[in-house]
Symmetry: C2
Subunit: 426 residues, 2 copies
């Protein structure tokens, strides 16, 4: 394990917040400090983000859930994105990512940062490409300088974590795009843009070539690098292939280099992965990346559920958490179809929170066991307020349940088993 | 293994339908015939059910999905139940259960049978108790004769499978209801009614005492007995306790007796089970019940997701299928809150179908692998019609997707990775 000396911004955050952060996770100071030093835990928090509550991600903290927001060029509404942000936070998202690729990105990001007390993540490459498209230029006609400057701008704005596709090498892209290699080639937007750029310009990944500058910027603002999985499988049948593992190997190497410069990293994970491969994938990625916090998208355990992909992702997410994933990126019912609407955002966050709870129960985490126990006790009392208080979505219980004065619900009525139990022992 | 001589009604069904049934499952005649003889597969089909398509359930057939329908005394609408039936069938339910406990049950059942080309299941005990409630009598004031006659009536009507709670013994109920034994006692309606009846009348389970008559009726009409899990855990913390396994042991014994009389059986399974216990539960139940087809409700891997319990159940269902479950009873978003509405029915069926698909992919079942592969190939072509054709819910793709003429969807627009792949290789 390489030695890790926290960047100054991180050290200042730790000095100020560590006791309260550790307490909120039910962990000792020593446990948190040691995990951060080892890189198995990161502290998200850019000092320039106004009103931010810093957040710990990684074992053995509570599993976190991210909601992706952001307009696309084809569907842009400032107000609806702000509504989605509010709904994501109400539903319990621990972080949000602004993945906007439409509208005026820089001022929207400033507004989101101001409105968002939780860590905000971005994919800086989108801003670079969007500027080309806005200028009616070739979308691949950007330079490494443009990308480094975008990272610097966003870091100064207060972005807390950034997806940087530093594992997409020419070798990896060739493996993914070789004839007969994959059914679905590259499905990550950032991955495919990077691959196309490298091919067009005959150059290696610009982030690898400019790594020193990128790491300096991230160290200065304590931006956590979320090492993007640009070659993640987009079909179950592509999961675990050479391209995927080639990228993971590179990510593990980049993670070491970043940490040697005092920069914290997370690793992004798949993608589409069949049920029986989820555990092995999670364990393999963790192993190759020195146990760095793993941030997974899904994984989706089936390919054929468009319109219901939050469910396919919750199945994979639950297993991923059981096997060591730390951070779940939500998937909404709109995935593979269209930009999510407000209700999709709520469903996506709830599905990921269910997955996290399921996995954490399997891991025996006290807060997860306690929640399950308390709602079950409330059920035994037919105590609807107690059920709502311990439900992942209390408002849902109030809206669809029978109300605090009723005993049984409309599902069972006089046939309520719990009421029968109760009567029997009166 | 006891020898099994199919009842005459079953033999007639096999003689007529076996080649087509085997072909539709992609199995050989011998494989199906042997599995039915061993009791690891059952053929649902009561000759009195008009227009029925008989259905195979059990390894290694395609995993089936059941939708529970039926009004409660507190929410009864004939038309809405018929709409739910239509929606359940459209969404792909392989069977339905009419669990009505309100309205005029017998004629509704006749209408459902006529309208329903898939096997229909019931819980006869509900009809018996409902009659007492309609007469303003004590709900526990029914006799074993009443229950046997209800089973006979429904068998003659054409009901294809019946949940009979034959594993709820006085010993099991005492174990479940002992002080400090469980957080949530008995949560099955049929289980709690049976337990209360035994306690009130000081008698053993009436179905065990009248087993010969019940088996005669079921043999005459080829009613498949779905041996109800009246003592299933209703909270994760109760899963795997003595009461649950006591019932499973009894169900295994009853299954042997039924098969010795030519009656087919399925076993009903939990319930609320933490993620890490699902595999062991499924394997244990299968072992104790001689591999009889296992019909699971969920299992729900968390207790705290009212309003989203179809997701908690899909997580458990996927793992259950991976470990050998044969038949998934859907759970809707309304579970634990209220009677499902039409949209809940659709969501519930789809969630179970996703779970089945995920589990079957893990098992390497060819039809499941093919569906995943074909939709992924359609994605690689940006072929929205092909995606719809292979989606679990084609109508959803048509409704929310971009339409066949568009290439990219509104989620990614110009950033579409698949389109970038395509352009690169033109």
């Amino acid at each position: 394990m390489l030695s890790f000396t926290p960047n100054a911004a991180l050290q200042a955050l730790l000095d100020e917040h560590l006791p309260q952060l550790a307490a909120s996770e039910g962990l000792s100071l020593e446990c948190v400090a040691q995990a951060i030093a080892q890189g198995t835990m990161v502290l998200l928090g850019n000092p320039a983000h106004p009103g931010l509550r810093p957040l710990l991600v990684g074992q053995p903290t509570r599993v976190k859930v991210n909601a992706n927001l952001g307009a696309s060029p084809m569907a842009f509404s400032h107000d609806s994105e702000m509504t989605k942000l509010d709904v994501a936070l109400q539903a319990g998202a621990d972080t949000v990512m602004d993945l906007s690729t439409g509208g005026d990105l820089t001022p929207i990001r400033t507004e989101m940062l101001a409105r968002c007390p939780v860590p905000l993540g971005t994919v800086p490459l989108y801003g670079v490409v969007q500027r080309r498209l806005d200028a009616k230029a070739d979308m691949h006609d950007w330079t490494a300088d443009d990308l480094v400057e975008e990272i610097r701008l966003q870091a100064e704005q207060g972005v807390d974590f950034m997806t940087l596709h530093m594992g997409v090498t020419r070798r990896g892209a060739d493996l993914a795009q070789a004839k007969d290699a994959r059914v679905l080639g590259i499905v990550s937007r950032g991955g495919s843009i990077t691959a196309a750029w490298m091919r067009k310009h005959g150059m290696e990944n610009p982030l690898l070539e400019r790594m020193d500058e990128v790491l300096d910027i991230c160290a200065r603002h304590n931006v956590v690098i979320s090492l993007g999985d640009g070659l993640r499988p987009g079909a179950g049948v592509d999961a675990g292939d050479a391209a995927q593992w080639e990228e993971v190997i590179v990510l593990g190497e980049v993670a070491k280099l970043a940490r040697a410069r005092g920069v914290q990293v997370m690793i992004e994970g798949p993608g589409h992965v069949p049920l029986h491969q989820v555990g092995a994938q999670i364990q393999g990625i963790k192993r190759l990346c020195q146990g760095a916090p793993l941030y997974v998208l899904g994984p989706l355990v089936v390919d054929c559920s468009p319109g219901y992909d939050h469910i396919a992702a919750a199945i994979g997410g639950a297993l991923a958490v059981q096997h060591g994933a730390d951070f779940l990126c939500y998937v909404t019912p709109a995935e593979h179809l269209t930009l999510p609407e407000v209700e999709d955002v709520r469903q996506g966050v709830m599905a990921s929170r269910i997955a996290a709870q399921a996995g954490e129960v399997a891991l025996g985490r006290p807060h997860a066991l306690a929640r399950n126990l308390e709602i079950s006790k409330a059920r035994a009392r037919l105590d609807w307020e107690g059920m709502a208080a311990n439900a992942l979505d209390p408002a849902m219980v109030c809206r669809r349940g029978p109300g605090a004065k009723e005993k049984a619900c409309a599902m069972c009525g006089d046939f309520c088993a719990v009421r029968l139990n109760e009567q029997l022992f009166k």
